[in-house]
Subunit: 150 residues, 2 copies
Amino acid sequence: MQPTTVMPPMDELRKVFREAGLSLTHQRVVLYRAVLEMRSHPSPEAIYERVRDEIPSISLGTVYKNIRAFMDAGLVREVSPHHGTLRLESNLEEHHHLVCTRCKAIVDLEESDLEPVRLRRELPGGFRVDRYSVEFRGLCAACSAKPDLS
Amino acid sequence: MQPTTVMPPMDELRKVFREAGLSLTHQRVVLYRAVLEMRSHPSPEAIYERVRDEIPSISLGTVYKNIRAFMDAGLVREVSPHHGTLRLESNLEEHHHLVCTRCKAIVDLEESDLEPVRLRRELPGGFRVDRYSVEFRGLCAACSAKPDLS
DNA sequence: TATTAAACGATAATTGTTATCGAAAAGTCA
DNA sequence: TGACTTTTCGATAACAATTATCGTTTAATA
Protein backbone atom coordinates (compact mmCIF):
# COMPACT_ATOMS: atom_id res chain seq x y z
CA MET A 1 0.00 0.00 0.00
CA GLN A 2 1.93 3.02 -1.24
CA PRO A 3 0.91 6.56 -0.37
CA THR A 4 -1.41 8.10 -2.92
CA THR A 5 0.11 11.52 -2.35
CA VAL A 6 3.80 12.12 -1.89
CA MET A 7 4.82 14.97 0.35
CA PRO A 8 6.25 17.64 -1.93
CA PRO A 9 9.52 19.32 -0.97
CA MET A 10 9.54 23.05 -0.39
CA ASP A 11 10.52 24.12 -3.90
CA GLU A 12 7.82 21.90 -5.37
CA LEU A 13 5.30 23.43 -2.99
CA ARG A 14 6.38 26.89 -4.06
CA LYS A 15 5.56 25.92 -7.64
CA VAL A 16 2.22 24.33 -6.75
CA PHE A 17 1.12 27.42 -4.86
CA ARG A 18 2.35 29.76 -7.55
CA GLU A 19 0.43 27.90 -10.25
CA ALA A 20 -2.65 27.96 -8.06
CA GLY A 21 -2.29 31.71 -7.61
CA LEU A 22 -1.81 31.33 -3.87
CA SER A 23 0.87 33.28 -2.11
CA LEU A 24 3.07 31.21 0.10
CA THR A 25 2.59 31.62 3.82
CA HIS A 26 3.75 29.52 6.70
CA GLN A 27 0.17 28.69 7.71
CA ARG A 28 -0.67 27.58 4.20
CA VAL A 29 2.33 25.30 3.91
CA VAL A 30 1.59 23.64 7.22
CA LEU A 31 -2.10 23.28 6.40
CA TYR A 32 -1.47 21.83 2.98
CA ARG A 33 1.04 19.33 4.29
CA ALA A 34 -1.36 18.33 7.04
CA VAL A 35 -4.15 17.62 4.58
CA LEU A 36 -1.83 15.56 2.36
CA GLU A 37 -0.61 13.56 5.32
CA MET A 38 -4.01 12.91 6.87
CA ARG A 39 -5.44 9.91 5.11
CA SER A 40 -8.65 10.09 7.13
CA HIS A 41 -10.62 12.56 4.97
CA PRO A 42 -10.47 15.08 7.77
CA SER A 43 -12.98 17.73 8.73
CA PRO A 44 -11.91 21.38 9.15
CA GLU A 45 -12.02 20.86 12.90
CA ALA A 46 -9.75 17.81 12.67
CA ILE A 47 -7.28 19.71 10.53
CA TYR A 48 -7.38 22.56 13.00
CA GLU A 49 -6.58 20.25 15.90
CA ARG A 50 -3.71 18.70 14.02
CA VAL A 51 -2.18 21.94 12.82
CA ARG A 52 -2.31 23.54 16.24
CA ASP A 53 0.54 21.27 17.28
CA GLU A 54 2.74 23.15 14.86
CA ILE A 55 1.14 26.60 14.96
CA PRO A 56 -0.67 27.00 18.27
CA SER A 57 -1.81 30.51 17.41
CA ILE A 58 -3.54 29.60 14.16
CA SER A 59 -7.23 30.44 14.05
CA LEU A 60 -10.06 28.25 12.88
CA GLY A 61 -11.03 30.96 10.42
CA THR A 62 -7.66 30.65 8.75
CA VAL A 63 -8.18 26.92 8.41
CA TYR A 64 -11.54 27.44 6.70
CA LYS A 65 -10.22 30.19 4.43
CA ASN A 66 -7.34 28.08 3.24
CA ILE A 67 -9.36 24.92 2.82
CA ARG A 68 -11.62 26.95 0.57
CA ALA A 69 -8.61 28.31 -1.31
CA PHE A 70 -7.22 24.79 -1.79
CA MET A 71 -10.57 23.53 -3.02
CA ASP A 72 -11.01 26.41 -5.44
CA ALA A 73 -7.53 25.74 -6.78
CA GLY A 74 -8.30 22.05 -7.20
CA LEU A 75 -5.57 20.96 -4.76
CA VAL A 76 -8.07 19.09 -2.61
CA ARG A 77 -11.66 18.00 -3.01
CA GLU A 78 -14.63 17.68 -0.73
CA VAL A 79 -15.88 14.17 -0.27
CA SER A 80 -19.62 14.79 -0.44
CA PRO A 81 -21.36 17.16 -2.82
CA HIS A 82 -24.24 17.61 -0.37
CA HIS A 83 -22.58 18.15 2.93
CA GLY A 84 -24.27 21.51 3.52
CA THR A 85 -27.75 20.28 4.24
CA LEU A 86 -29.60 17.08 4.94
CA ARG A 87 -31.25 15.48 1.91
CA LEU A 88 -33.88 12.80 2.25
CA GLU A 89 -34.98 9.92 0.08
CA SER A 90 -37.97 7.65 0.43
CA ASN A 91 -36.83 5.19 -2.18
CA LEU A 92 -35.65 2.32 -0.02
CA GLU A 93 -34.83 0.03 -2.93
CA GLU A 94 -31.22 -0.40 -3.95
CA HIS A 95 -30.43 2.35 -6.41
CA HIS A 96 -27.81 4.82 -7.54
CA HIS A 97 -27.51 8.57 -7.86
CA LEU A 98 -26.84 11.10 -10.53
CA VAL A 99 -25.72 14.29 -8.83
CA CYS A 100 -25.43 17.74 -10.35
CA THR A 101 -22.52 19.44 -8.62
CA ARG A 102 -23.80 22.87 -9.60
CA CYS A 103 -27.47 22.86 -8.53
CA LYS A 104 -27.21 19.83 -6.22
CA ALA A 105 -30.06 18.04 -7.94
CA ILE A 106 -30.14 14.31 -7.29
CA VAL A 107 -31.77 11.84 -9.64
CA ASP A 108 -32.17 8.13 -8.99
CA LEU A 109 -30.89 5.42 -11.25
CA GLU A 110 -32.50 2.07 -10.72
CA GLU A 111 -30.29 -0.76 -9.69
CA SER A 112 -31.05 -2.48 -12.98
CA ASP A 113 -29.64 0.46 -14.92
CA LEU A 114 -26.16 -0.80 -14.03
CA GLU A 115 -24.23 -4.00 -14.32
CA PRO A 116 -23.57 -5.27 -10.80
CA VAL A 117 -20.46 -3.82 -9.20
CA ARG A 118 -17.75 -6.40 -8.74
CA LEU A 119 -14.81 -6.28 -6.36
CA ARG A 120 -11.44 -7.53 -7.55
CA ARG A 121 -10.04 -8.11 -4.07
CA GLU A 122 -11.08 -8.47 -0.47
CA LEU A 123 -12.17 -5.39 1.39
CA PRO A 124 -9.84 -4.13 4.13
CA GLY A 125 -10.07 -6.25 7.25
CA GLY A 126 -13.37 -6.71 8.94
CA PHE A 127 -15.42 -4.06 7.22
CA ARG A 128 -19.04 -5.18 7.00
CA VAL A 129 -20.87 -3.77 3.99
CA ASP A 130 -24.59 -3.10 4.32
CA ARG A 131 -25.11 -1.69 0.89
CA TYR A 132 -23.37 0.20 -1.83
CA SER A 133 -24.34 2.75 -4.38
CA VAL A 134 -22.72 4.46 -7.32
CA GLU A 135 -22.65 8.22 -7.44
CA PHE A 136 -22.27 9.82 -10.83
CA ARG A 137 -21.22 13.46 -10.57
CA GLY A 138 -21.47 16.06 -13.23
CA LEU A 139 -23.80 18.71 -14.58
CA CYS A 140 -27.47 18.27 -15.28
CA ALA A 141 -28.80 19.39 -18.65
CA ALA A 142 -30.03 22.74 -17.32
CA CYS A 143 -26.76 23.57 -15.57
CA SER A 144 -24.49 22.54 -18.41
CA ALA A 145 -26.50 24.82 -20.70
CA LYS A 146 -25.90 27.84 -18.49
CA PRO A 147 -22.55 29.63 -18.42
CA ASP A 148 -20.37 29.19 -15.34
CA LEU A 149 -20.90 32.35 -13.31
CA SER A 150 -18.48 31.49 -10.54
CA MET B 1 -41.27 5.19 -15.34
CA GLN B 2 -43.45 4.00 -12.48
CA PRO B 3 -43.33 5.60 -9.04
CA THR B 4 -40.88 3.92 -6.70
CA THR B 5 -43.15 4.62 -3.76
CA VAL B 6 -46.90 4.33 -3.90
CA MET B 7 -48.90 6.75 -1.78
CA PRO B 8 -50.40 4.65 1.00
CA PRO B 9 -54.08 5.12 1.89
CA MET B 10 -54.97 6.28 5.37
CA ASP B 11 -55.47 2.86 6.93
CA GLU B 12 -52.17 1.69 5.52
CA LEU B 13 -50.50 4.77 6.96
CA ARG B 14 -52.04 4.04 10.33
CA LYS B 15 -50.40 0.63 10.22
CA VAL B 16 -47.03 1.96 9.09
CA PHE B 17 -46.95 4.50 11.88
CA ARG B 18 -48.11 2.03 14.46
CA GLU B 19 -45.40 -0.45 13.53
CA ALA B 20 -42.85 2.35 13.66
CA GLY B 21 -44.08 3.30 17.12
CA LEU B 22 -45.11 6.73 15.93
CA SER B 23 -48.40 8.16 17.02
CA LEU B 24 -50.52 9.46 14.22
CA THR B 25 -50.84 13.20 13.98
CA HIS B 26 -52.07 15.39 11.18
CA GLN B 27 -48.66 17.02 10.77
CA ARG B 28 -46.96 13.65 10.56
CA VAL B 29 -49.31 12.35 7.89
CA VAL B 30 -48.89 15.44 5.75
CA LEU B 31 -45.11 15.40 6.21
CA TYR B 32 -44.76 11.75 5.38
CA ARG B 33 -46.90 12.05 2.27
CA ALA B 34 -44.91 15.08 1.17
CA VAL B 35 -41.63 13.21 1.44
CA LEU B 36 -42.99 10.24 -0.48
CA GLU B 37 -44.30 12.49 -3.22
CA MET B 38 -41.18 14.62 -3.57
CA ARG B 39 -38.86 12.77 -5.85
CA SER B 40 -36.19 15.47 -5.54
CA HIS B 41 -34.44 14.21 -2.40
CA PRO B 42 -35.63 17.27 -0.55
CA SER B 43 -33.96 19.21 2.24
CA PRO B 44 -35.83 19.95 5.49
CA GLU B 45 -36.34 23.50 4.26
CA ALA B 46 -37.83 22.28 0.97
CA ILE B 47 -40.19 19.96 2.81
CA TYR B 48 -41.16 22.82 5.10
CA GLU B 49 -42.00 25.06 2.13
CA ARG B 50 -44.05 22.36 0.54
CA VAL B 51 -45.98 21.37 3.65
CA ARG B 52 -46.85 24.94 4.53
CA ASP B 53 -49.31 24.95 1.66
CA GLU B 54 -51.35 22.43 3.57
CA ILE B 55 -50.54 23.43 7.15
CA PRO B 56 -49.51 27.09 7.19
CA SER B 57 -48.99 27.06 10.96
CA ILE B 58 -46.52 24.18 10.99
CA SER B 59 -43.15 25.03 12.46
CA LEU B 60 -39.76 24.20 11.05
CA GLY B 61 -38.91 22.49 14.31
CA THR B 62 -41.75 20.06 13.79
CA VAL B 63 -40.41 19.28 10.34
CA TYR B 64 -36.98 18.47 11.76
CA LYS B 65 -38.38 16.43 14.62
CA ASN B 66 -40.47 14.28 12.34
CA ILE B 67 -37.79 13.84 9.73
CA ARG B 68 -35.63 12.49 12.51
CA ALA B 69 -38.44 10.23 13.69
CA PHE B 70 -38.97 8.91 10.15
CA MET B 71 -35.26 8.26 9.74
CA ASP B 72 -34.99 6.49 13.08
CA ALA B 73 -37.94 4.32 12.11
CA GLY B 74 -36.37 3.51 8.76
CA LEU B 75 -39.22 5.07 6.78
CA VAL B 76 -36.84 7.39 4.96
CA ARG B 77 -33.08 7.63 4.60
CA GLU B 78 -30.60 10.43 4.36
CA VAL B 79 -28.73 10.59 1.11
CA SER B 80 -25.25 11.33 2.39
CA PRO B 81 -23.65 9.70 5.43
CA HIS B 82 -21.43 12.75 5.97
CA HIS B 83 -23.75 15.65 5.62
CA GLY B 84 -22.99 17.26 8.97
CA THR B 85 -19.54 18.55 8.22
CA LEU B 86 -17.17 19.09 5.34
CA ARG B 87 -14.72 16.26 4.73
CA LEU B 88 -11.66 16.71 2.57
CA GLU B 89 -9.57 14.40 0.45
CA SER B 90 -6.26 15.00 -1.24
CA ASN B 91 -6.35 11.84 -3.32
CA LEU B 92 -7.21 13.22 -6.72
CA GLU B 93 -7.01 9.88 -8.50
CA GLU B 94 -10.21 8.07 -9.37
CA HIS B 95 -11.12 5.96 -6.39
CA HIS B 96 -13.97 4.69 -4.27
CA HIS B 97 -15.01 4.90 -0.64
CA LEU B 98 -15.73 2.59 2.20
CA VAL B 99 -17.80 4.50 4.74
CA CYS B 100 -18.56 3.51 8.30
CA THR B 101 -22.02 4.81 9.07
CA ARG B 102 -21.38 4.68 12.79
CA CYS B 103 -18.05 6.51 13.24
CA LYS B 104 -18.06 8.20 9.84
CA ALA B 105 -14.62 6.88 8.96
CA ILE B 106 -13.85 6.93 5.26
CA VAL B 107 -11.32 4.63 3.64
CA ASP B 108 -10.24 4.77 0.01
CA LEU B 109 -10.48 1.88 -2.39
CA GLU B 110 -8.29 2.21 -5.43
CA GLU B 111 -9.98 2.29 -8.77
CA SER B 112 -8.28 -0.99 -9.65
CA ASP B 113 -9.94 -2.69 -6.68
CA LEU B 114 -13.16 -2.77 -8.70
CA GLU B 115 -14.26 -4.00 -12.07
CA PRO B 116 -15.25 -0.95 -14.12
CA VAL B 117 -18.83 0.15 -13.59
CA ARG B 118 -20.97 -0.40 -16.65
CA LEU B 119 -24.25 1.28 -17.53
CA ARG B 120 -26.98 -0.78 -19.11
CA ARG B 121 -28.83 2.18 -20.61
CA GLU B 122 -28.43 5.80 -21.49
CA LEU B 123 -28.38 8.30 -18.71
CA PRO B 124 -31.39 10.63 -18.46
CA GLY B 125 -31.28 13.37 -21.07
CA GLY B 126 -28.31 15.65 -21.25
CA PHE B 127 -26.60 14.83 -17.98
CA ARG B 128 -22.84 15.23 -18.38
CA VAL B 129 -20.86 12.95 -16.07
CA ASP B 130 -17.50 14.20 -14.82
CA ARG B 131 -16.68 11.22 -12.68
CA TYR B 132 -18.26 8.51 -10.65
CA SER B 133 -17.41 6.66 -7.50
CA VAL B 134 -18.79 3.76 -5.59
CA GLU B 135 -19.67 4.20 -1.96
CA PHE B 136 -19.76 1.10 0.22
CA ARG B 137 -21.63 1.70 3.45
CA GLY B 138 -21.46 -0.40 6.53
CA LEU B 139 -19.58 -0.77 9.77
CA CYS B 140 -15.82 -0.74 10.15
CA ALA B 141 -14.17 -3.51 12.15
CA ALA B 142 -13.96 -1.43 15.32
CA CYS B 143 -17.60 -0.33 15.20
CA SER B 144 -19.03 -3.72 14.35
CA ALA B 145 -17.19 -5.14 17.35
CA LYS B 146 -18.80 -2.66 19.73
CA PRO B 147 -22.43 -3.05 20.83
CA ASP B 148 -24.97 -0.59 19.42
CA LEU B 149 -25.48 1.99 22.15
CA SER B 150 -28.09 4.04 20.34
C1' DT C 1 -64.87 11.07 28.49
C1' DA C 2 -61.02 11.32 31.89
C1' DT C 3 -56.30 10.44 32.29
C1' DT C 4 -51.75 9.95 30.60
C1' DA C 5 -48.33 10.27 27.23
C1' DA C 6 -46.70 12.19 23.13
C1' DA C 7 -46.33 15.85 19.80
C1' DC C 8 -46.88 20.74 18.60
C1' DG C 9 -45.33 25.67 17.98
C1' DA C 10 -42.41 29.24 19.62
C1' DT C 11 -38.15 30.31 20.70
C1' DA C 12 -33.47 29.85 22.63
C1' DA C 13 -29.18 27.41 22.18
C1' DT C 14 -25.60 24.96 19.59
C1' DT C 15 -22.75 23.94 15.80
C1' DG C 16 -20.58 24.52 11.35
C1' DT C 17 -19.25 28.12 8.28
C1' DT C 18 -18.59 32.70 6.22
C1' DA C 19 -17.79 37.76 6.50
C1' DT C 20 -15.46 41.84 8.45
C1' DC C 21 -11.58 44.46 9.84
C1' DG C 22 -7.25 46.22 11.68
C1' DA C 23 -2.51 44.28 12.15
C1' DA C 24 1.13 41.51 10.17
C1' DA C 25 3.39 39.21 6.57
C1' DA C 26 4.29 38.29 1.60
C1' DG C 27 4.86 39.91 -3.19
C1' DT C 28 6.95 43.37 -6.24
C1' DC C 29 10.15 46.21 -8.17
C1' DA C 30 13.40 50.10 -8.16
C1' DT D 1 17.43 45.65 0.41
C1' DG D 2 13.87 49.03 1.26
C1' DA D 3 9.48 51.25 0.21
C1' DC D 4 5.09 50.26 -1.34
C1' DT D 5 1.10 47.40 -2.50
C1' DT D 6 -1.49 43.36 -1.94
C1' DT D 7 -2.70 39.41 0.47
C1' DT D 8 -3.24 36.82 4.51
C1' DC D 9 -3.72 36.40 9.46
C1' DG D 10 -6.17 36.28 13.89
C1' DA D 11 -10.07 37.94 16.43
C1' DT D 12 -14.59 38.43 16.43
C1' DA D 13 -19.20 39.11 14.65
C1' DA D 14 -22.68 37.30 11.59
C1' DC D 15 -25.15 33.69 9.47
C1' DA D 16 -27.24 29.17 8.46
C1' DA D 17 -28.51 24.52 9.67
C1' DT D 18 -29.96 21.84 13.40
C1' DT D 19 -31.21 20.57 18.09
C1' DA D 20 -33.07 21.45 22.74
C1' DT D 21 -36.44 23.47 25.91
C1' DC D 22 -40.92 24.29 27.56
C1' DG D 23 -45.70 25.41 28.18
C1' DT D 24 -49.84 24.25 25.45
C1' DT D 25 -52.46 21.16 22.53
C1' DT D 26 -53.54 16.78 20.67
C1' DA D 27 -53.58 11.74 20.40
C1' DA D 28 -53.64 7.13 22.81
C1' DT D 29 -55.70 4.22 26.17
C1' DA D 30 -59.18 2.29 28.76
